[in-house]
Symmetry: C2
Subunit: 347 residues, 2 copies
Amino acid sequence: PRLRPLALLDAGQAMFRLDRFARRVEREEPWRTDRASESDSETFAAWIERNVYTQQVRRLLAVPCKTLWGAEPEELSLLYTGAYVRGAGGLNRLLDTPRGAQESRFVGGPNLVARRVAEELGDRVRLESPVARIEQAEHTVRVRTPTDDFLARRTIVALPPPLVDKIEFDPPLSAERQALNQRMPMGRLMKCFAVYPEPFWRDDGLSGEAVSDSGPATITFDTSPPSGSPGALLGFVGAAEADALARMSDAERREAVLEGFVRLFGPRAAEPDDWILQDWPAERWSGGGPVAYMPPGVLTDAGRALREPSGLVHWAGTETATRWTGYMDGAVRSGERAAEEVLAALD
Amino acid sequence: PRLRPLALLDAGQAMFRLDRFARRVEREEPWRTDRASESDSETFAAWIERNVYTQQVRRLLAVPCKTLWGAEPEELSLLYTGAYVRGAGGLNRLLDTPRGAQESRFVGGPNLVARRVAEELGDRVRLESPVARIEQAEHTVRVRTPTDDFLARRTIVALPPPLVDKIEFDPPLSAERQALNQRMPMGRLMKCFAVYPEPFWRDDGLSGEAVSDSGPATITFDTSPPSGSPGALLGFVGAAEADALARMSDAERREAVLEGFVRLFGPRAAEPDDWILQDWPAERWSGGGPVAYMPPGVLTDAGRALREPSGLVHWAGTETATRWTGYMDGAVRSGERAAEEVLAALD
């Protein structure tokens, strides 16, 4: 259903309040925020319950949450949510297309950035060589893959914390770091593309952007190429909706998502020429997406362990970033920070 | 400080209310409980905040929580807490010595139960053979350790969910099951024993049982053998206190815990003849203790996946029990349930 004016007002003031809360969170050390333990004891769902007055807007606020974190509001710590919003410079910058996180689709796809960097590095980049074991001696680290063996003075691990557990560490990581790896799960997010002969929704004056509480795709975007042909609709399916889709066959998933597109954009959405579903949670080396998040109690208790080196092992990855956590921007910043740590240590 | 009478009253009514809440939780399928999603959206800490009026009792209620789950109240889902209490038949049965979970120390230690069963099974039990990989075909499961290779029609995995991730599954586990493994962390619990020539606290009329909010050991018991010689004090260090101890050296840990014992039992506690600290979170094959728990949102969203077989792989372990979850009793029940599933499937 469309939003009534009162609901719009309610949504507006809730987003204003969340931004105000986020601005008070300490960016570099969120656990030092005023009353940190109180807001880390609470779920984002409890905050919504207290600050939003209409049922419709409560459901509405869950929608960006499912996509931004791949988690339901009840799975997120309020303090963590605030720190994440703060790191992006505000809720609008996370949600917006103009000047926000959703602004552009890279022509060629964003993995082009990684590909171009890899080209420069040449055969120093090893693909399909999962690290199985990391052994630390006094001054050296040995990194073992099933086929190779690398000796280094320092190592940077750039994995989301829950995937670090797939590597065997000798000696084992500290209890604190192991506990952190267990307490930061990956979100659950799927990305669906339906490709049509043309962006037919534009004929009806629709932008292709929609936020819906009935899903399975709760947020959609028009991702047609600049030429306008073919037409492509992108839908994100996150958290509870992704869990429901995970239990379905490929055909059932397609049907369920397209039914949702029909509700939003009319009957022409039912029969795309092409259909792609990216299922990160089912991928062995992703284990979920878009980012590993923090349930209540983790940020104040163990937040500082996220970036603290474990002996000769340094930690990077977008989860360790304090600006644009969860995004490519944060990933790049985390790599620069880890590289600086290593250079300082070797100096 | 000792409890004032008003605080005792406050503690009494809070425990009464928690039991009343727990009795309403559906034992076998807690996600079907009336208003389940509401109580699964909340932390146990938020419940304490709402239902307990004195600061002293709020801190006091965190103490059993640290020991029972190795987690702070803000890390636990309220619905999960209720289901766990329900599975034990009430809060008192979890906390009490007479007729409760803390009643007896097995002479010889509880691992005697496992040892005796292993003796009967003989060389069918393989120790020091960690399973590295489980491969499923249409009708068979292959279980690989670094040295051996077993072929079976069904397999029962009896590990806490977070440790399942250390095994490589081919094909990978379902996204749903992988997400569950990531969303149930182990608690953090350490167990300390100080051994004295005799149980000197008895001379002062003290039982050796104490609940303290100043730690590091927040709960203590007298675990002297029936003969009364030597004297042994057991202290549990859990959650935030365990995290703090994890950062200390062995000597600092001993000193910190004994300082706490001295506050409770007087200066004679300072110099034990013997000292043992069991640090489960640092153990590679434990990864924490005493049990894997559920943060908010996990039980209603993924609770049923805990026991649901993954193809030819069946799940046991105390986390899957609906009575005495987290205890040996629950572990045995879960084994019986999984064995029944396998027998029914092979029938």
